[in-house]
Symmetry: none
Subunit: 431 residues, 2 copies
């Protein structure tokens, strides 16, 4: 089955916007259908180009996923061109129009005449309502080729691709047997090391495909097995997972779609513990990751982005003299922040970051990329020093993930010890 | 001049690797040559596909930038296919071989026979030595089309494209026209309304292309013009920009690659003002956006993700009784948070959010998606109520951006008034 993708939009050809959608589809297609996209094309919002490409793709593909150009404005040409290329007219779909009307009414926004453009469907094509937006998914057959037209807005694209396009493709693929996928997510293991560590296991799991994916700073191991039935596929994957876990130990923080913050939250909840954060260089990223988890209020009390020194003293009770003596980027300040925020909020755990995210700042001892992480629990406080490479964004995201992981590992290792030492429900005492 | 790009490599079609190279070239091409890539194609390491695409591109393009498949291994097929497609043989380039030998000698690594593969050049093509790696840039003419073959390794790609490819292209386009692009970024204008508002302007700017892009919750207007020289192109775009700004007013928050937080930071810096944040449902997103800006320490003092009620009372001095009386998601609490954080940190401005991000929570009066935003400045405090649709992630990101924009608009509108009312350098007094 030959599958290709077509992305439309001038902004994808002028360096303004990165296409983040295609990887989402490619990954799902491989994981759920065992298929690879054969070719991928990007064209601008140019009528002649669009029609020519649609014709070419119709002639050589079984399936084409087309994204973008489904908006309400005059430079959104995809559906018009799809109709023109296949020699049919456009018809207004009353169901889609009603869906758009209802969305606008709910938001109290007036419907403009061009919004009705999004309800036009090529004659003979199928429109699937889009719970995340106005433009529907449009499915059009041209000879042996099936076109799926989806909006380019990432949220809408992901929703429609995962919910409607993939199930259709799964049904279309005549696969022998059932495929199972397990993803083991690791922190602190470089991708090449992951590969090295897994190599000795391969001969023992000849029917399992070992794959690697980088989602910096995480690295993921993908275990894929196809078997005649689900139980057999599951067994193959589970045996490989057990062996992989024995090698990787606690660097594996979660599986499949779990996030680091979710796993950490679950570990805290299991103990009836709570946490607070004081972050300097990460400036809110740790708090944002924690509160991204639905139900975070059960374990996340609060986080302070203590950017200025005054915020550190006000919110995390860091003594100003400590900053003067050791400098704001120091083990001492990281420790005081973690201990301070734990005390101020009365949480079981405190987490802190202070460092130089760049591009300016840093000194000989602590160059740009240096980050101190403080981890305070009822068992005491520890500080880690890391030096991350790359630009400001990379240093910040690596520091935030590494901090969350430091607390996760701390909880995993010290589970029994800590529980015996201190009643976590008690107000933590001064260190 | 028709320019297209071709990226090769299986890893670009399986979701494993993102193509970060193309944006680099696209941006340079637009900035330095005023040209836009017409179409972009990705193919896997499949001989038949590669040859077919090279032939198609040779027939319709003036310039093609091909990246990837120049390595030493047997799945690196690009140069072989380039020779085969154009019906010529391969010849070993002694200069390139010497360059590779020297690189290996310097590192004390033995040259393997397959490294010599990288010294093979299609007969008649030009090889340019690569200071960053082994594989040379290869320039091949086929009829009216010039192919530039560069390695896919980002460091080598960037070096060769910036140093050799772009200067050649600049020389080639010296006689053609120049394109200029301007992006106006708006908040609070739905994409379809943007189109409606711009339509009356189109007849007055026939040489300017008006385009629209959604980067939720922002919507962007793209103004693109091509003219014989840079000054003329710039003039066309500037005239359209002035007209567009007259219509869009203060919904335009920035241009080109500016972010909302950058613009807000600049507005604060211009007044010598600072800000603090107390966020509940956005849980750190506002702080993270602010501290993402390099130099944020000049205007961002701190932000508290006051998730639990206890964090609101501790860090933003919100009276517990106020929460009891009005509920945590209320205008009163939003106001108290904005005023409180401003007072606690001694900043000129305070910004706050409290709401139901979902999927659970909410009540009849304030359903999931309801967010109250508090904006405190030396001139006083205001509260906005919004109801955002979509999932938890969307509600959070819309609320964070809308809050930043609320403060931005407040500063823009009240600039003169506020400056006269209060000395912003003074410690703000209790409301």
């Amino acid at each position: 089955m030959r599958v290709e993708t077509l992305c439309t939009g001038d902004e994808l050809l002028t360096g303004l916007t990165a296409d983040t959608n295609s990887r989402f589809f490619q990954t799902l297609l491989l994981d759920r259908c065992g298929l690879t996209v054969r070719r991928s094309t990007v064209v601008g919002d140019v009528r002649g180009d669009l029609i020519e490409v649609l014709d070419t793709l119709a002639a050589r593909c079984d399936v084409v996923l087309v994204s973008g150009g489904l908006g309400p404005t005059t430079d959104d040409l995809t559906i018009e061109c799809a109709a023109e290329a296949s020699g049919v007219g456009l018809v207004e779909d009353e169901r889609v129009l009603e869906h758009i009307r209802a969305r606008f009414a709910k938001r109290g926004i007036a419907l403009t005449p061009n919004n009705a453009r999004q309800a036009r469907v090529p004659v003979g094509a199928e429109a699937v309502l889009n719970a995340e937006g106005s433009a529907p998914l449009i499915i059009q057959r041209r000879g042996a080729c099936t076109f799926f037209f989806v909006p380019g807005v990432p949220r809408e694209y992901r929703h429609l691709v995962a919910t409607f396009v993939l199930p259709r493709l799964e049904a279309m693929v005549a696969r022998a047997g059932v495929t199972r996928l397990r993803i083991l997510k690791t922190m602190g293991v470089p991708e090449s090391h992951l590969d090295e560590k897994m190599r000795p296991l391969l001969p023992r799991h000849p029917k399992v495909t070992f794959g690697y994916r980088t989602h910096a700073p995480e690295n993921h191991l993908k275990l894929l097995a196809t078997a005649p039935d689900d139980a057999a596929a599951r067994q193959l994957v589970e045996a490989a997972e057990a062996d992989a876990r024995a090698v990787l130990g606690d660097t594996v923080f979660g599986v499949d779609d779990e996030t680091l913050a979710q796993v950490l939250g679950r570990a805290l909840l299991a103990r009836g513990w709570t946490m607070g954060v004081a972050e300097s260089c990460t400036g809110g990223l740790i708090s944002a990751a924690c509160t991204d988890v639905s139900g975070a209020s059960g374990w996340f009390v609060g986080g302070a982005a203590t950017y200025a020194v005054s915020a550190k003293t006000t919110w995390a009770k860091v003594p100003a003299a400590l900053v003067d003596t050791h400098g704001v980027v120091s083990a001492e300040v990281a420790e005081a922040m973690a201990v301070g925020v734990r005390e101020v909020l009365g949480t079981a755990c405190g987490l802190s970051t202070t460092g130089y995210a760049g591009p300016t700042g840093g000194d000989e001892k602590n160059p740009v990329g240096t980050v101190y992480l403080g981890v305070a629990t009822p068992a005491g406080v520890t500080v880690e020093r890391h030096v991350f490479g790359g630009d400001r964004e990379r240093v910040r995201s690596f520091a935030a993930a590494t901090a969350l992981d430091a607390l996760r590992r701390r909880l995993a290792v010290s589970e029994d010890t800590v529980s015996q030492m201190v009643d976590p429900k008690q107000q933590p005492k001064k260190k």
